[in-house]
């Protein structure tokens, strides 16, 4: 019959393994997060282009997306998001529409 200390040890080992798994998930998490910010930027730009979200929000959300991408797993995706933000700041809906088509096609 297993003693109490071995049950306790098993629990500690299980938690340690879970902690290792949590560390191992980090790269995958960062990639998912970057993809999510990339998708966010596209959706925000699309809604702004259709007049469904205010400009102040769109500018801020795109800046946030660009920062997250620049510091995350897909830094190369930050540049097109910056272009989207600049087009939103200019109020240039045609440029936003064109950039969305270009980015979505990549």
């Amino acid at each position: 019959m297993p003693c109490r200390c071995s049950a306790g040890r098993r629990a500690v080992v299980a938690i340690a393994l879970a902690a290792l798994a949590a560390c191992g998930d980090q790269d995958e998490q960062k990639l998912k997060s970057a993809r999510s910010w990339s998708a966010t930027a596209l959706v925000v730009a699309r809604h702004w282009e259709q007049g469904e979200v205010p400009t102040a929000y769109a500018k801020r959300a795109l800046r946030k997306a660009s920062e997250e991408l620049a510091n995350g797993a897909l830094p190369e995706a930050a540049e097109p998001v910056d272009e989207l933000r600049e087009a939103v700041e200019r109020g240039d809906r045609a440029a936003v529409r064109r950039l969305i088509t270009e980015i979505a096609g990549r």
């Binding site: 949590a22 999510s36 979200v53």
Partner: protein, 405 residues
């Protein structure tokens, strides 16, 4: 007739006041990341909160005491001080998260950084508490909070599969991201069963002078109000699962959550989200400030009551003023509102047994409850959910911290 109207108002305000920053953030994140598979966590939390809220009302009606006051008398100050301090600390963190939620809503609307809104929002909160009566605080924000029903309507606009909804009510574990999934389970339950809810409800029963004729009304309000409130929380998960997940958007910040109602309502969707976030958080911040001041005043035997003028309950008024100022400072520092919210909710689940378990002892003490003591079933449901959530919190919070570094 007056009592029926009172019950109806109680149910409506419970529904309107159910959502707060914790429910919105945890549910949005859960739906966007895991689809409908975390609906069961809201169901579990809602079942537990129905029992706890009904018990807290029944306790105040039958014993004439509030929960904090009775725990201090029953267990003595020395045994009471640690859980009391932990609950107050959690209240402060959650209050900061709620204030942060209002500030984020204003940031979404104006583009002006949320920290800059901390002082105006804290001042507005403080002034309202200083000038308003209990009924104005309880009913006003909650009636405005009915705007959160837009999440329920959005389910019908977006169209959800009933079979998938039913499957989400059965507990399950995903194949990947289990650590984050368990952390979200804890945060969702923490957001649903925040101790301030039943501490506030217990003090409210005394403020509203409920007597034994309100026992049935209390049961109806707790059951229907919390059930419909839980449905709104579930609706947030469902809308996030239908609107954000298919587009590959995960909710790490409120800027992402703000998109969830746009597919259902077009241009109105953004403003409905902002209004829901601002009103739900402001209402919860009012309740939290009062619940914290009630707790401190009841613990130290001070005069308390929102219906009293500030000079008639000076220490009570000073306490909520200090809590609001401290929470405002936390927001001003610029802690990430989404992370602050998620961790506040997880820590709420962690400290929940410290308040809920002594409360269960009181609910079984005939000296306080007479013939209205708890049934074994009620005890078992609450004890099981609270203890399991506490254990899960002990395991999942450190793992989430390790995984998010």
């Amino acid at each position: 007739m007056k009592k029926i109207l009172g019950i109806a108002l109680g149910i409506v305000t419970s529904i309107g006041g159910f959502l707060d920053v914790g429910s919105i953030a945890t549910s949005a994140q859960a739906g966007a990341a895991f689809g409908l598979s975390l609906l069961w966590a809201v169901l579990l939390g809602t079942i537990c909160v129905i029992f706890l809220v009904e018990m807290s009302g029944r306790f105040s009606i039958v014993s004439g005491h509030t929960i904090i006051d009775a725990i201090r008398k029953r267990f003595g100050f020395a045994a009471f001080i640690v859980p009391f301090a932990a609950t107050l600390l959690v209240n402060l963190l959650v209050l900061a998260a709620e204030l942060g939620g209002v500030c984020v809503a204003l940031q979404l609307l104006t583009g002006i950084g949320f920290q800059l809104w901390a002082i105006p929002v804290a001042l507005a909160l403080w002034m309202l508490l200083w000038l308003a009566t209990f009924d104005m605080v309880e009913n006003g924000a909650a009636l405005l909070g009915l705007v959160t029903l837009c999440f329920v309507v959005a389910i019908f606009v977006l169209g959800a599969e009933p079979v998938e909804l039913a499957a989400g009510l059965v507990p399950s574990l995903p194949a990947e991201e289990r650590t984050h999934y368990l952390f979200l389970v804890v945060s969702i339950i923490g957001a649903t069963i925040a101790p301030y809810l039943f501490l506030f409800y217990s003090s409210g029963a005394i403020e509203d002078k409920w007597d034994k004729s309100f026992i049935t009304a209390n049961r109806v309000i707790a059951t229907l109000g919390m059930s419909f409130g839980g449905l709104i929380s579930m609706a947030v998960i469902i809308v996030a699962a239908l609107a954000l997940k298919p587009q590959g958007i995960r909710v790490e910040e409120f800027e992402q959550a703000a998109l969830m109602l746009v597919p259902a309502y077009g241009g109105w969707g953004f403003y409905l989200f902002v209004a829901s976030l601002a009103i739900a958080c402001f209402g919860a911040a009012l309740e939290l400030s009062l619940a914290s001041a009630y707790s401190v005043s009841q613990a130290f035997g001070w005069n308390w009551g929102e219906n009293l003028k500030p000079r008639e309950a000076a220490r009570f008024s000073t306490t909520y003023s200090a809590f609001i100022a401290a929470a405002g400072l936390i927001v001003l520092v610029g802690l990430n509102p989404m992370k602050l919210t998620l961790f506040s909710m997880a820590i709420t689940a962690l400290v929940l047994p410290l308040t809920a378990l002594p409360f269960l002892v009181l609910m079984n003490d005939p000296r306080y409850m007479g013939s209205h003591v708890n049934s074994r079933f009620s005890n078992a449901v609450v004890a099981l959910i609270v203890v399991l959530t506490g254990i899960l919190a002990v395991v999942s919070i450190p793992l989430e911290l390790i995984g998010s570094k």
